[in-house]
C-alpha cells in the first residue's frame, strides 16, 4: 500500500514535470496562447502539489494532527465559516486596516515634513534604516500592556512596523527626481509645493508603492503575532495559537488559508492601484509587475 502510494506520487510528479517542460518549450505565435502557457505552468505546479499532498497524507496515513489533507482542511474551513469571518473582521478589518492606514500615512507625512530640513534628514534616515531591520514585532507585549487586549494594541504594533519602511522609501523616492528636471522646475520659478506635487511626488510613486506593498505583508504579520500575546476571544492569531493548543491542526490550516488569501488580495489590490498610478514606469510599460 505504502509502496504503491509512493510510486504513484513519484509518477504524478514526473508526469507533471514532463508536461511543464514540454509546455515551456512550445513555440507560440499569438500572445494570448503565450499568456495561457504562463498561467498554466504555475497552476499545474500548484495543482500537482495539492494532489501529491492529498495522496501522500491519505496513502501514508499521516496523523491529522501533523498534516491534514487539503480536503480535510477545506471541509473544516467551510464548516467554520462564521468563526473564520469573525476572526477576519477582528484582525483585518479592525487591526490591520487601522494600523496600516495610520502607519503609512504618518510615515509619508513625516517624510514630507523632514524633506525641507537636511539636518533632520541626516539624523532620522540612518535611524529609520536601522529601525527597519529591527524585530519590531517584539513590542507586541508592550503594546498589549498599554492599549489592552482589543484591536488598538495590534494597530499600534502595525503603526510602528509600517512607519519606518514608509519613511525611508518615501525619502528615497523624493530624491529620485533628476537634476535636470529639478533645474527645469527652478527655471519655471516653481515653489516647493509646486515642484513637490508636479515633479517629485510623481517620481516618488514607485518607491512609495514599494513601501505600501512591503507594509501590506508586515501589517498582517504584526496583527497575527501581536495576537499571540493576548487577544479577545477572536482574531486570526488568537485562533491559530488556541487551536494549536487543542491540537486541532485542520482549523489552524484553514485559518492560514484565509490569511494567505487575504494577504494576496491585499497585495494584489495595491499592485493594481500601482499599475494605474505609475503607468509611465518601465516596469509597468514592459508588462511586468
Amino acid at each position: 500500500m505504502i509502496a504503491t502510494t509512493v510510486v504513484v506520487a513519484v509518477g504524478i510528479w514526473l508526469a507533471a514535470w514532463g508536461l511543464n517542460e514540454y509546455l515551456v518549450r512550445v513555440k507560440t505565435r499569438s500572445r494570448q496562447s503565450a499568456r495561457a502557457v504562463n498561467l498554466a505552468v504555475p497552476a499545474l505546479f500548484g495543482i500537482t502539489l495539492l494532489i501529491l499532498w492529498e495522496l501522500l497524507t491519505r496513502g501514508l496515513h499521516v496523523p491529522e494532527i501533523i498534516l491534514p489533507a487539503p480536503s480535510v482542511i477545506l471541509a473544516t474551513g467551510l464548516g467554520a465559516l462564521p468563526i473564520l469571518y469573525a476572526d477576519f473582521q477582528q484582525t483585518v478589518l479592525k487591526s490591520v486596516l487601522a494600523g496600516y492606514t495610520i502607519g503609512c500615512s504618518s510615515g509619508l507625512a513625516v517624510a514630507l515634513l523632514i524633506d525641507r530640513s537636511p539636518f533632520l534628514k541626516k539624523g532620522l534616515l540612518p535611524l529609520g534604516n536601522f529601525v527597519s531591520a529591527l524585530p519590531i514585532v517584539g513590542i507586541a507585549p508592550i503594546a498589549v500592556m498599554w492599549f489592552g487586549f482589543d484591536w488598538p494594541s495590534k494597530a499600534a504594533v502595525i503603526v510602528v512596523m509600517t512607519f519606518f519602511p514608509m519613511l525611508v522609501n518615501t525619502q528615497a523616492g523624493l530624491a529620485a527626481a533628476g537634476h535636470m528636471e529639478r533645474d527645469l522646475m527652478r527655471t519655471y520659478a516653481a515653489s516647493w509645493w509646486q515642484s513637490m506635487v508636479k515633479l517629485r511626488l510623481p517620481a516618488a510613486w514607485p518607491f512609495i508603492f514599494n513601501a505600501l506593498k512591503i507594509n501590506s505583508t508586515l501589517a498582517m504579520i504584526g496583527a497575527i503575532v501581536a495576537e499571540f500575546f493576548g487577544a479577545p476571544v477572536y482574531g486570526m492569531g488568537f485562533r491559530i495559537s488556541t487551536e494549536m493548543g487543542r491540537m486541532n491542526t485542520a482549523m489552524v490550516w484553514a485559518e492560514i488559508v484565509v490569511a494567505a488569501i487575504v494577504g494576496s488580495i491585499f497585495y494584489g489590490m495595491i499592485a493594481l492601484i500601482e499599475r494605474r498610478v505609475t503607468f509611465w514606469h518601465p516596469s509597468v510599460r514592459g508588462g511586468q509587475a
Binding site: P42, L120, G123, A133, M145, I224, A259
Partner: protein, 299 residues
C-alpha cells in the same frame, strides 16, 4: 544609499536625534508612571513630597514605561554580572536565539542560492516556481510558526531546529529573488563574448554569472539576516517560554516584567544591528578581494 563618506558628516544629526528621543522617553516615563508611583506610595502609607513621587516614577519595579537608565542597569546586571550559562543571563538567551538565527540564515541562503541557480538554468522551474515564491511572500507566513513548532515537537524534533526552519523559510525568499536578478544581471554582449570563447554553461556560470551576482547576493543577505532573527524570535513564542529572547518577551509579558521585556528588545536590536553590520563588512571585504573600485562599492 548612504555613502560611507557621509557617515562621519551625519554623526552629529544622528546624535542630536537620539538625544531628543531619550529626553522624550524620560518625559514620557515620568508622566506614564507617575500615577502608579503615587499609588504605591499611598499603599505604603508614606507621606511624601511631590518631588519624591516624581523620582519614584523613574525607579518603579514594574513601570508602565521603564526609564532608559533602568533598562541599561537591567541589561548590565543580566549580561555582565551573571555567568553566561545562567538561565537568567541575557547573553544565554541571546545565544539561544542567535544560534537558531544563524542556522536558519545559513540554510535559507544555501537553499535560496540553489533554487536561484535552478530557476536561471531551467525554464520549467522558472515558470512554475517563481509565481509561487512571490505569492508565498504575500502570505503572513509567521502565522505558520506556532504550528510548525508544535507539529515538529510532536514528531520528536524540538529545540533549535524548528526555530531555525522558520528562519530558513523567511530568509530564503529575499535570497532567491535577489540571486535570480543577480545571475541574470550580465548584459547580452557579455554572454555573447562568452559564447565566442565557446564557454560551457558551467564556465559561464562561474566566470560571469556568479561574480556578477555577488552585489545582489549581499543586498539580499542583509534583508535575510534581519528577517531570520525575527523568525527565530517568533519561533520561540509558542514553545511556552523555555529559552531565548522570544521566551523572555513572553514571560515578561505574563508577569508584567516590563524592564525584562525592554531589555530583551534592546538585546534583539543589538543583535539585528550587529548581524547586518557583519554582513556589510563581509560585503566590503569580498568586494575588495574581487577587485571592486571603492566608489563602486559605495553605490
Amino acid at each position: 544609499m548612504e555613502k560611507p563618506g557621509l557617515l562621519r558628516e551625519s554623526a552629529f544629526p544622528i546624535v542630536v536625534v537620539i538625544l531628543v528621543v531619550v529626553i522624550f522617553w524620560y518625559a514620557a516615563a515620568l508622566l506614564m508612571n507617575h500615577g502608579a508611583a503615587l499609588d504605591s506610595l499611598k499603599l505604603k502609607g508614606i507621606e511624601t513630597t511631590p518631588l519624591q513621587g516624581w523620582l519614584l516614577s523613574l525607579a518603579l519595579e514594574r513601570p508602565l514605561l521603564p526609564a532608559p537608565h533602568q533598562i541599561a542597569v537591567e541589561m548590565w546586571n543580566t549580561t555582565a554580572q551573571l555567568s553566561v550559562t545562567s538561565k537568567r543571563s541575557l547573553v544565554y538567551h541571546a545565544w539561544v536565539t542567535l544560534s537558531a538565527t544563524l542556522v536558519g540564515f545559513g540554510l535559507g541562503t544555501a537553499l535560496g542560492v540553489l533554487l536561484a541557480i535552478g530557476i536561471v538554468h531551467n525554464r520549467a522551474m522558472d515558470k512554475s516556481l517563481m509565481p509561487w515564491i512571490i505569492a508565498s511572500q504575500t502570505i503572513p507566513i509567521l502565522a505558520v510558526a506556532p504550528m510548525l513548532i508544535v507539529v515538529l515537537n510532536a514528531v520528536g524534533i524540538s529545540g533549535l531546529l524548528p526555530k531555525a526552519l522558520i528562519s530558513t523559510y523567511l530568509s530564503f525568499f529575499p535570497v532567491v529573488v535577489g540571486m535570480v536578478k543577480g545571475l541574470r544581471s550580465p548584459e547580452t554582449i557579455q554572454f555573447d563574448l562568452m559564447h565566442t570563447y565557446f564557454a560551457s554553461s558551467s564556465q559561464i556560470f562561474w566566470k560571469l554569472r556568479w561574480p556578477a551576482s555577488v552585489p545582489f547576493l549581499f543586498a539580499s543577505l542583509k534583508v535575510a539576516v534581519a528577517i531570520a532573527l525575527i523568525g527565530a524570535i517568533v519561533g520561540e513564542l509558542p514553545t511556552g517560554a523555555v529559552a531565548g529572547l522570544g521566551a523572555r518577551l513572553l514571560s515578561g509579558s505574563y508577569y508584567g516584567q516590563t524592564i525584562q521585556i525592554w531589555s530583551a528588545l534592546f538585546m534583539a536590536a543589538f543583535l539585528a544591528g550587529g548581524l547586518v553590520l557583519i554582513v556589510g563588512l563581509v560585503e566590503k571585504l569580498v568586494a575588495r578581494t574581487m577587485g571592486a573600485k571603492p566608489e563602486r562599492m559605495a553605490a
